[in-house]
Symmetry: C2
């Protein structure tokens, strides 16, 4: 039988790249550059709540880290260090091998050191804390949106929630679209590259993990402004536009795209950054003075929509 | 029905004392002083593994943070920031009120800002990441023990494991001792005050969370040295000495005392620090050259003992 220490040695101990001391003492040690601040975020994923039983463990390892990277990207920071705490019903070496492979594939792609954590017995639960660096006073907050700012989003919205609905048998998709949607659900690509460049131009930023409407509403509330969106500008698969299943793009969770606002004068600069970082971006609306959120159809008519995002306790 | 955001606002949002941005954005922001390093540690507590069902929630809130503070103290650092991720089967306001009360009682006592985290539905699991500051190159590691160092421990060992055995009906204790042991189990006092002063004198340090033998063994392995302990010098309740139930002091987990090693020349300085911080401390043995651990009884005879500590997967 492996002990907790053997599991950590076997699966979670790697050479550190930017850390003074990693896994193996009471705590890890990091050194921070001058004039830098640290941003810190934590997320917890629970079996049957955030992921289905029998989810591919390598995909789960990737996603556990990716969803946290998305929060750091949304602060305009560069993610660097993560801790991973995991409770497992029993030691399953096949599962641990695949999970840690997926986790480190994501860690290596984005330059993250795993610097600590905990393993214990219990229902399958994964808890990650991620830390990143940002230049002093350069973080992107939810509270910075200004009236007349463009509202931008990266990528395509609604893909992950269509993937989930499809796996649950609630939505029928063409095979190629289904694969794309399940990939978006299980192995999302956090927008880390563009995130750290945006701090020069954006006034506010958030990641879309609870759905476009809910996450935009956080920005509006924190910035005490409103917004007007154009339905046909929302970047989503043709299937959503033609079937009018906009609830996936508007309220679906798990997208891990960035939503940010910026002055219109920065449009060209932002497009250049998007090109340089190979990131699809779209302007979907504008920040307004009155504190409401409106969505307009092609005829300029305000449509009604569900204001709530996903809530595990609802 | 409360949403995740309402729970966070109601129970876990407090005014920050040493944090640029706390709970409420994608991530928190902290600023680090010049020539300081950050130490980081994570722990996960699972119902029925780390604590019994129906544990007093205020005690659980206290302990969840206290066990993490102990890891930072063992690095010789000053704990400052924590994130808390918690999964709950359902929203129970009475439980949350008590849990957060206990958590913040500990946070306030030790000057910790709760800067972020996550709440979700799931089996009761508490995951905390804690961060502290230490002067550059002044952390206390497991690997620094030197031959002829005194081996010191704080407090009394075996109390928490006697408390657990008593609650489980495996051990009969006199009522006053039982109360003391259950307090040690449920509301441990992390040795934060003495910890940050020790970095001037100690060569190595660890917290005794998995039992004296196992945690001392980590120091011996990391420092490639051995140790000789004197059984009657191990600080534990008279009950253990008279009943000879030394397994509680040697192998019992959950003590959260500090074990550290230091040159004999620092004895007086260390005793002064202990007095100043009102911490009980004892020399229990010496670091030796040969890489084994020996425990001697009063007649100088080597006794046999169980080398393993507590392992959730064993």
């Amino acid at each position: 039988m492996s002990s907790e220490f053997e599991i950590i040695d076997q699966y979670f101990k790697k050479k550190m790249k930017q850390t003074l001391l990693g896994v193996g003492d009471d705590a890890a040690i990091i050194h921070i550059k001058k004039n830098r601040e640290i941003v810190i975020s934590s997320d917890m994923l629970v079996e049957n709540v955030h992921f289905l039983k029998n989810t591919n463990p390598a995909h789960l390892g990737w996603k556990s880290l990716a969803v946290n990277l998305s929060d750091i990207a949304a602060m305009g920071a560069i993610p660097k260090w993560a801790t991973l705490s995991i409770s497992l019903p029993k030691i399953n070496h096949g599962w641990l091998k695949e999970f840690s492979k997926g986790f480190f594939k994501c860690a290596d792609q984005f330059g993250i050191d795993l610097i600590g954590g905990d393993t214990t017995k219990g229902p399958l639960t994964i808890s990650i804390t991620i830390m990143g660096e940002v230049k002093k006073n350069k973080s992107l907050l939810r509270s910075g949106a200004k009236i007349n700012d463009d509202i931008w989003v990266t990528g395509q919205l609604g893909m992950a929630s269509m993937g989930l609905a499809s796996l649950q048998g609630k939505l029928k998709l063409a095979p190629s679209l289904k694969v794309k949607c399940i990939n978006a659900l299980e192995t999302p690509s956090p927008k880390v590259l563009i995130g750290s460049h945006l701090s020069r131009y954006a006034n506010s930023c958030i990641d879309i993990s609870d759905g476009l409407i809910q996450d935009l509403s956080h920005i509006l509330k924190a910035s005490t402004v409103g917004a007007s969106l154009l339905l046909n500008k929302i970047p989503c698969d043709q299937f959503i536009h033609t079937s009018k299943k906009y609830q996936f793009a508007l309220n679906g969770g798990d997208d891990y795209e960035l939503l940010f606002t910026a002055s219109k004068k920065h449009r060209l600069s932002i497009e250049k950054i998007a090109k340089k970082t190979n990131t699809a971006i779209s302007v979907i609306g504008v920040i307004t003075q009155n504190k409401t959120l409106k969505i307009m159809d092609q005829k300029g008519k305000s449509i009604s929509f569900n204001k709530k995002g996903f809530d595990h306790f609802a």
